[in-house]
């Protein structure tokens, strides 16, 4: 038995572990989690149903992996054939046994001492391609690691951290390239999206999220404002292999709350851009919030869905935007189909037929402060939504929180936040949160589950009829996808800042939720497994077995 297993292992090792084709077909292997989003479309739905609405009440903690790191734990682990790969703050990457949480290797990126970091050391996860893992570092480098050992293979600078470029996102592996974006929007960077050759670490193409002189869109920035205009690209995009287009959200223009120094629409800030995956050339763009002055980045998940819309099959991209509206666009050409408010909003009167918002009066931040909904953190943010094909609904966390927006004439100084505001005044105004199920075709709410605080946790959907999510009080929860009924919960003791995943190893389904400095993995008790249903007497007669011997069988 043992020898046979070894031979098999050797054979497997001979070919690259995760070729591009496997990622394209990621939905066909629900036992794995191959990209940040689970697949290229970001629906975050898995066709696993061992854990389902009727047995979820028995789900319990199976193992815990301690990263030893504090700070927001925003990673989404990958799972490939029984091995889990994750990142943690301070440049850490780990490989652990997905069944038991035992560490297989660890890596720490040596952040150079004294390095300027715009955005701390949080990290959202890895990309895998072939036998390599790709990780973005806090000082805006892209590194390649050997997935079998954690050894560093190459290290390429995306953009100089001396200019306060930073990196927090999980890379996107497409064909033979690794695509990344940058953080640092509050520090006067000029946003960009880069693709690197996966083999060599050489830059393959660059898309400037703010067009330079002579390029279309450049005229949407007054004077020299484009040079420090922000437009960061700090969340992972999605990819349509048939159209060969990458969809990437672009953040807000800087200075954030003072628009006078950057008159114009400020393209491609607060936009979704569709780029040719081979060349990085812009195919189309859609700007959600022209000339934004409320920090409403458009980095939220661009989810790719195929829907019947007004009687026609449409390839759409759906986004619950930070500005409080749920959007549907045709993803072949960027055509605006629909925008519908999903949270309290007090800034837009409506939209023209192209999807350009009609702003209400008196929404600009002032010296005295202007109260507006949504608040600076947005009604939605980077927390992942999910889509359940059985219900046809879109599930996402909503932040019901408003703010008083202050503006102050900004002066750009390298190394200081280019914020254009006095910061956010505290107030007693109550915030709350919702887990919302929405029909993406109509934008109508199907159900809401109310959280006490505005959440930062994403969602996941399964064929077990379940939606999983976490809230700001640290509850990890499972809901009935149809009714919104809370079926299971556990208090993890720390606010949840990312989305859960699910996977399967050796016939057992697991659910993983990072919280605080630990990775919590849940499963049904082993006794409910078919294997354990062998006649009780036989099991009684068998000599006591060590847990390890059972695993080798």
């Amino acid at each position: 038995m043992k020898r046979a297993a070894l031979t098999l292992l050797c054979l497997a090792a001979a070919s690259a572990q995760v070729p591009y084709e496997r990622i394209v077909n990621a939905a066909r292997e629900p036992q794995n989690w191959l990209t940040y989003w689970g697949d290229y479309s970001a629906i975050r739905h898995r066709t696993l149903d061992q854990i389902n609405t009727s047995n979820i009440r028995d789900m319990r903690l199976e193992w815990v992996f301690q990263t030893g790191q504090t700070g927001a734990f925003e990673t989404v682990p990958l799972v490939v054939d029984g091995v889990m790969y994750l990142t943690a703050p301070e440049g850490y990457a780990f490989a652990v046994d997905a069944r038991g949480g035992r560490q297989l290797w660890s890596y720490k990126y040596p952040i150079p001492a004294g390095e300027k970091l715009c955005c701390g050391t949080i990290n959202r996860g890895l990309a895998i391609l072939g036998d390599r893992l790709y990780q973005v570092t806090p000082n805006a480098h892209l590194i390649a690691l050997d997935s079998r050992t954690g050894a560093l293979i190459w290290d390429s600078e995306i953009a100089p951290s001396s200019q306060y470029y930073g990196g927090t996102l999980a890379p996107l592996a497409v064909k033979d390239k690794i695509v990344v974006g940058v953080a640092g929007g509050e520090w006067g960077i000029r946003g960009l999206i880069d693709a690197f050759d996966a083999a060599t670490g050489k830059r393959a193409w660059r898309f400037w999220a703010i067009p330079g002189p002579g390029e279309p869109g450049h005229e949407t920035w007054s004077g020299d404002s484009w040079k420090n205009g922000g437009a960061p690209t700090w969340m992972t995009g999605t990819y349509d292999p048939d159209l060969n287009l990458i969809y990437w959200g672009v953040g807000n223009p800087g200075p954030d709350l003072s628009g006078d120094v950057r008159k114009g629409d400020n393209l491609y800030s607060c936009s979704l851009v569709a780029l040719d995956a081979d060349t990085g050339k812009l195919k189309w763009h859609f700007q959600f919030t022209p000339h934004d002055t409320h920090d409403w980045d458009a980095n939220e998940t661009p989810m790719l869905l195929n829907l019947k819309w007004k009687g026609r099959d449409r390839k759409v991209v759906a986004q619950a935007n930070r500005n409080g509206f749920f959007y549907l666009l045709d993803r072949t050409n960027g055509e605006f189909l629909m925008a519908k408010a999903f949270a309290r909003q007090s800034w837009a009167a409506g939209f023209d037929e192209k999807g350009r918002p009609k702003p209400l009066p008196n929404i600009e931040p002032t010296e005295q402060g202007v109260r507006l909904c949504p608040g600076v953190a947005g009604a939605a943010n980077w927390m992942a939504p999910s889509y359940n094909p059985a219900t046809g609904w879109f599930y996402f966390p909503v932040r019901e929180q408003c703010d008083v927006y202050y503006a102050e004439p900004p002066v750009f100084v390298l190394g200081k936040p280019y914020w254009g505001s006095t910061g956010r005044a505290v107030s007693d105004e109550k915030e709350w949160g919702l887990l919302k199920a929405l029909d993406p075709v109509t934008g109508e709410t199907k159900w809401d589950f109310r959280y006490f605080r505005a959440p930062w946790g994403g969602t996941m959907s399964t064929s077990g009829g379940l939606i999983f999510s976490g809230d700001e009080d640290g509850y990890f929860m499972a809901f009935d996808a149809r009714t919104g009924k809370n079926l299971w919960k556990m208090s993890t003791g720390m606010a949840i800042k990312t989305a859960p995943i699910t996977y399967m190893v050796a016939g057992r389904q697991y659910v993983t939720m990072p919280s605080g400095g630990v990775l919590l993995t849940f499963a049904l008790p082993e006794r409910t497994e078919p294997e354990a249903k062998k006649p009780a007497k036989l099991a009684d007669q068998a000599p006591p077995r060590k847990p390890s011997s059972r695993r080798i069988e």
Partner: protein, 256 residues
Amino acid sequence: MRITLLFLLPLAVYAQSDAGIAQGRAAFRGNCAFCHGLNAQGGRGPNLVSAPLHHGDTDSDLKNSIKNGIPGTPMPAFSGFGDDELDHLVKFLRSLSGAAAPKTTLSGDAKAGRDVYEKNGCAGCHRIGLSGSVFGPDLTRIGAARPVEYLRESIVKPSADIAPEWEGVTVVDNAGKRTTGVRINEDTFTLQLRTMAQKFASFSKQELRTLSYEKKSLMPAYEKLAPADLDNLLAYLATLAGGAGNTVVKEVETRR
């Protein structure tokens, strides 16, 4: 304190400039006015311009209070502020008071005020040093932490300003039992109150028939207090500037 958590967002930053006062005002409005009032005359924090300061009066004392906060009190540390921001803030505060602005004086008799405090059952809900109840806010440092006008309002019209951490909540459970207390914690599924009996009470929201937030303070309004008694009481409260809450806890521990 939940309030301080909201300061994680990037704070105001400006280039060097002579017009520091305007920048200081802006920074003050965005970061400090919520507690100290728009003109720094106090609110949920002390008066910074026309009352004696407890942590030093020099520019560098002020900067130290701002940059490092005042440990054990709600005054947060603004460690992200650079020298220029601190300069602007101090310039702004000085522009309001002028170095020689008159300090508020109180007419009441603090000793007599102590009797008023005792006679009116304040200690049944409040604590000064190690004596009294933990139901309401600890008043050990209240004279350093609030302007007199705020204290006056707190006694006569306590519902006028209630900090979220002192919000009263009333619940009725499925058996019809009613409980009122100060909210210690609330989350999506549970609620923990501190009752008048100084006990914790824990609730699962599923087991509650109703949960309501009190608009009124859980402190009775002392509207009928004689003016002289009120002045004396205020004079007494103004003298309270003892060790911060956490110091008291330490004392208790060393006594064991």
